[in-house]
């Protein structure tokens, strides 16, 4: 493997992790924490450190919903897909977000300004329907409020 400054940095970042010690996901979390996502270049480094195949590591990255392969947007909107949100108009919220931002789930607007992510219920169902803007729960949202929110985020972007 060709060693570059970037791969050396990843190497250092995950040096504490060992093969066969339940360390793959913790290593990927650490990479994602540092870069905001798991860059393609990091996968061979993680694979070598943990004595795993690159395909095996890539398989894990794409298996888990919270590991990202695209850069973290400046503003990330997590749309809750849970049942309480659905019952109270969550689909309206999703349609409004997608229409205003012009993107679908797991996509970012140009320049990675705003991104949409389909999230799983975290049990703050008292605030349904809701989104989490950079981790902060916002709800209960009407469709009109969602449109104002998305326009504002898009305008600021």
């Amino acid at each position: 493997m060709l060693e570059t400054e970037a791969t050396l940095e990843v190497q250092q970042l995950i040096a504490e992790f060992q093969p066969g010690s339940a360390d793959l996901i913790p290593a990927l979390h650490k990479v994602q924490h540092r870069y905001g996502y798991v860059p393609k270049e990091a996968i061979p480094v993680v694979a070598r450190q943990l004595h795993l195949g690159e395909a095996h590591v890539y398989g894990a990255v794409t298996f888990y919903a919270e590991l990202r392969t695209i850069p973290q947007p400046e503003t990330r909107i997590d749309w809750c897909s849970g049942p309480a949100c659905r019952l109270k108009g969550g689909e309206h919220v999703r349609r409004a977000l997608e229409a205003v931002l012009g993107i679908g789930m797991e996509q970012n607007t140009p320049g990675d300004k705003v991104g949409l992510h389909l999230a799983q219920c975290n049990g703050t169902c008292d605030f349904a329907p809701q989104v989490w803007v950079n981790g902060k729960v916002i709800g209960p949202l009407t469709a009109a409020e969602t449109i104002h929110l998305a326009r504002e985020l898009k305008g600021n972007a």
Binding site: G20, P26, A60, A119, C121, F127, I138
Partner: protein
């Protein structure tokens, strides 16, 4: 009792006394996932600022959540006279009023007062035990939630915490297992496997090291039972694991905690750290020579990792694909070593059982299921929250309390969905006959599950709900079994087709075939995935038929079967036009096709409902009544 424990407890009691009998007013704010969105952190900040700026002789602290989600942000005020008052919905802008009336002088802020706690009555404030939601409960597992500071191990110790471990260490591991078996405790995740028997399997294995897993991957949408325990009483989970480790001979544990619960991760990590500092974890637990440690392991977003063998695969550095069994975890679990997997609530139950003893634990519940179970409630109800109920509690009493209005004014309880996407769905009239016990649910062909209960009224469409659940199951299928990844895809296709008006009479036959084929899946994710579909076809056939035969969605939810139309006039119409994200609303001149006025261009309309929210008297949802579409 162990000397090391006695010393810890003694030290802790001093710290706790300052809370129980404060020398000056003590204000505490629940900081938890259900209170933070309502502004609990801002409220806490504002309280600290007010107290500092006014130079009040008041202490400010934090506690865990009570489970009363709908009154958050909650604030508890403890006075030296022994009175304790809970104030509800104390948003940051109301803090000044609370400080004026309840802290700056000796009084009660009546506008915000919710309930009084404890034996001392407070004039004009209802006791908490009179709040209908609260009164349903028998709080045992939740006894410390909303009472102690979950980040303070002393609070846990002083309220009897870790005494269960101390008791266990003075018995033989076999006796501990016998106590667990006598309690009838069964896995609280929904699996209902006898916990004592599981422990006995691991006890019998001689291959070292042995592992424990705490399954904290509470991925069931609408369930937040384990979250409250981990956030508001994390040490009870650690203690339960310690007791299990002693009984089974395990030396290390992983808490597999879902990524979606960042605060629970933080609190559990802190609890483990504190337990280590106090000698409760490590090479010599409480001086007994027992060696045990815990790692909080953060998941990465996968529902199927809540399935025990998927979880183990995930820990073993791979995709979380459930394995073929046997071997079972007791023979070959994590790293192919003997392993025992229990969920969060199960471990908390063990801590409670050992602290309070078998008689106390068994004093409530039914013959088959002793003790209590925690449930979380969401959906179409007023009071979203968490309750601890004895097994066998009648569902009807629960529903009537969660919906305090008179029966006539209550929306129709169309359906109840317990135990999330794999567990099934029941029509309201059958759900009201249930009692909260796994066997009773099973008699109806559904599963009680981990405790998440979703109430559904008649504003929901059963076809739409099936699209949601089957899509979720398709998305979360690990992909190993063709029956599962292909079968769940077919489920989505069938319901999407029905929702779009292209349903066929023989779709019911296809559901039946799918239901059978899915049984051949390796794990429960596949085999249980058709439950909601089949129950829907059984109980909601009339509604599905409306979609298939008459191309109508009675609840007016399915987007292809409805149309938004401007049927009246409203001064809000210009605003409605402006909000439309697809510019589908415009003003038209009079022409041969109709008079002047506002129109919705149906081809552009995405059915987001924003215009109707703004101008409800002018915009209506009408049936699209499309000519029969051929598939």
């Amino acid at each position: 009792m162990l000397k090391a424990y006695e010393e810890l407890r003694k030290r802790a009691e001093e710290a706790w006394a300052a809370v129980e009998r404060p020398v000056r007013t003590l204000v505490r704010v629940p900081v938890a996932t259900c209170s933070v969105p309502g502004g609990a952190l801002e409220t806490l900040d504002a309280l600290q600022r007010e107290v500092r700026e006014r130079g009040l002789a008041v202490d400010v602290g934090t506690i865990g959540e009570t489970g009363l989600c709908w009154v958050e942000p909650l604030v508890e005020v403890r006075k030296p006279d022994g009175s304790v008052v809970l104030y509800q919905k104390v948003t940051p802008d109301r803090v000044a009023q609370l400080v004026d009336e309840a802290l700056a002088r000796d009084g009660v802020c009546r506008d915000l007062a919710f309930a009084s706690v404890g034996d001392l009555a407070v004039e004009g404030v209802q006791p908490l035990t009179d709040v209908p939601f609260w009164a349903l409960q028998d709080r045992r597992l939740l006894a410390r939630c909303g009472v102690i500071d979950p980040e303070n191990i002393d609070h846990y110790l002083a309220t009897g915490g870790y005494s269960g471990l101390a008791q266990a260490l003075e018995q033989s591991p076999e006796d501990v297992i016998k106590t667990v078996q006598d309690s009838t405790l069964r896995g609280r995740s929904g699996s209902n496997f006898p916990t004592g028997q599981k422990w006995d399997f691991l006890r019998g294995k001689t291959r070292e090291p042995k592992y424990l897993i705490c399954n904290a991957d509470e991925g069931d949408p609408g369930a937040f039972v384990n979250r409250i325990l981990m956030e508001s009483d994390p040490h009870s989970v650690v203690e339960g694991m310690l007791i299990a480790a002693y009984a089974t001979g395990a030396s290390f544990a992983f808490v597999y905690l879902r990524d979606e619960y960042p605060l629970a991760i933080e609190r559990m990590e802190r609890a483990v750290e504190q337990a280590r500092e106090r000698g409760l974890l490590g090479d010599d637990v409480l001086g007994s020579g027992m060696k045990f440690d815990v790692e909080v392991w953060r998941g990465a977003g996968s529902y199927v990792c809540g399935e025990e063998s998927g979880l183990l695969a995930s820990l073993d550095d791979a995709r979380g694909m459930p394995r073929i069994r046997p071997p079972y975890p007791a023979d070959a679990g994590v790293f192919a070593q003997p392993t025992n997997v229990n969920n969060v609530e199960t471990y908390s139950c063990v801590a409670l059982l050992m602290q309070k003893g078998l008689d106390h634990y068994n004093s409530v519940g039914t013959e088959r299921n002793r003790g209590t179970k925690i449930f979380s409630f969401s959906g179409h109800i007023r009071e979203v929250g968490v309750l601890e109920l004895p097994f066998g509690f009648p569902f009807r009493a629960l529903y009537e309390t969660l919906y305090p209005e008179p029966w006539q004014e209550r929306p129709i309880l169309k359906a109840v969905q317990a135990g999330a996407a794999l567990a099934g769905i029941l029509p309201g009239h059958l759900a009201l006959k249930l009692t909260m016990e796994p066997e009773v649910f099973r008699e109806q062909g559904v599963i009680m599950g981990g405790g998440g209960i979703v109430f559904i009224d008649d504003s929901a469409c059963i076809v739409d709900l099936n699209i949601m659940f089957s899509w979720f199951l398709e998305d979360e299928s690990c992909g190993r079994c063709t029956t599962c990844h292909g079968g769940t895809q077919r489920m989505v296709e069938i319901f999407r087709r029905i929702a779009s008006g292209r349903g066929r009479e023989d779709d019911y036959d296809k559901m039946g075939i799918l239901g059978q084929a899915l049984q051949w899946s390796n794990c429960v994710h596949g085999s249980a995935s058709p439950t909601i579909m089949l129950k829907s076809a059984e109980y909601f056939r009339e509604e599905i038929d409306e979609h298939i035969v008459n191309k109508r969605c009675p609840a007016k939810v399915c987007r292809d079967l409805i149309r938004y139309e401007i049927t009246g006039d409203s001064p809000q119409l210009p605003e409605a036009a402006a909000i439309c994200p697809t510019e589908a609303i415009s003003q038209v001149e009079a022409s041969s096709t109709g008079p002047a006025g506002w129109r919705i261009d149906d081809a552009r309309c995405i059915r987001c409902d924003a215009c109707r929210e703004i101008a409800p008297e002018a915009v209506q949802i009408v049936e699209a009544l499309a000519a029969p579409v051929t598939a």
